[in-house]
Symmetry: C2
Subunit: 209 residues, 2 copies
């Protein structure tokens, strides 16, 4: 029942229907009090949606095949973050709209953890300086991605702004010590996941989901 309501809420969010206590239970044969039993109120519904969003994002990151090139790995994680946000823009907004609380933060940490692991690989593989802080690099990458995608999702910046991810990430990783030319190549490879939504039309119908 709980998951049924949650999925229904996620679907309504995706389809841009207003999520209201009554509209949420309408047609499910269940009454409004059920929402209070399972979520403790509408706030709880939004919180659950937020967590669901982070969980889905973490799953997506986990499902990535890790390339041999650690820098490409790092950027691929960043790209997956961006793609996820673009595919579920409303969910993304919910995830960062309100002032998040601590349990949400844990889920967010998981996301950051993926990037940190890749950043450590970069250092261990000698791609960035030995004394560079991988966690800091991961945070910087995350910050950049969040900035880009946040502006695009809220339509302040056009979708073309996504392309700036390449020079930005290249600048950040190069600053951490990577060789400029190699870095550029790795970044472009890792960022490639962003290409399909711009170029191809069909052929992607057999993807996940």
């Amino acid at each position: 029942m709980r998951t049924q309501l949650l999925e229904r809420a996620a679907r309504m969010l995706r389809e841009r229907e207003p999520i209201t206590l009554r509209s949420l239970v309408a047609g499910t044969g269940v009454s409004t009090m059920a929402v209070y039993t399972y979520f403790g109120g509408m706030d709880g519904v939004w919180r659950a949606l937020r967590q669901e969003g982070f969980t889905r994002l973490a799953a997506r990151l986990e499902a990535l095949v890790v390339p041999a090139d650690p820098v490409e790995d790092l950027v691929a994680g960043a790209a997956a973050y961006v793609v996820n946000a673009l595919e579920h823009p409303d969910l993304y907004r919910v995830m960062f709209d309100a002032t998040v609380d601590l349990e949400d933060l844990e889920a967010a940490e998981a996301t950051l953890g993926h990037l940190e692991r890749a950043a450590r690989r970069c250092r261990d593989g000698g791609r960035i300086a030995e004394d560079a802080d991988p966690d800091r690099l991961a945070t910087e990458v995350w910050t950049v991605c969040h900035g880009i995608v946040s502006l695009v999702v809220s339509r302040v910046a056009s979708r073309r702004t996504l392309a700036s991810g390449i020079p930005l990430l290249a600048a950040v990783i190069t600053a951490a010590g990577d060789d400029p030319a190699a870095c550029r190549r790795s970044v472009e490879a890792g960022w490639a996941a962003l290409r399909p939504p711009q170029g191809s039309t069909a052929t992607a119908s057999t993807s996940t989901r």
Copy 2:
């Protein structure tokens, strides 16, 4: 009357009181319909608040004394952007929360315009490559700042994350062609506006406002 209501709304937002049609007019001696006359509804109030936020930001940027060093100028604009957001976090959230519409975009453009002017100065002054695109650099700087401040304001990242502005901006501007050492110096100088909230306690009481 309109500005009185708008200022009242801004104050309520600042003081974290819920802004409601009735709470907005309560005590003003005016009725709810006045809000419809002046704003066309609560949506209009939020839109007006958004625009007010952009206007205030633009004024703040305009009031900056432009330093001789163009890179410092660029970064000072970025820092002012961040400081403004930190001083009025709720207003900042409103500015980017909803899907903004076109008239809001104009105001946002003004903000970007300030950075673009500074970026052009950087190119004309020979600080970045001649074939570098100043507008792109300005957008990148904006993106980075928005990413940082957005994470900090929504409490996803700690306030310490603000410090990453220096290496990030240095990386971005260096990538555009500036000399690394000089860039670092300019960025630190421009970013200095962020220092007070961390360090000093008094002595800043005679500042603006």
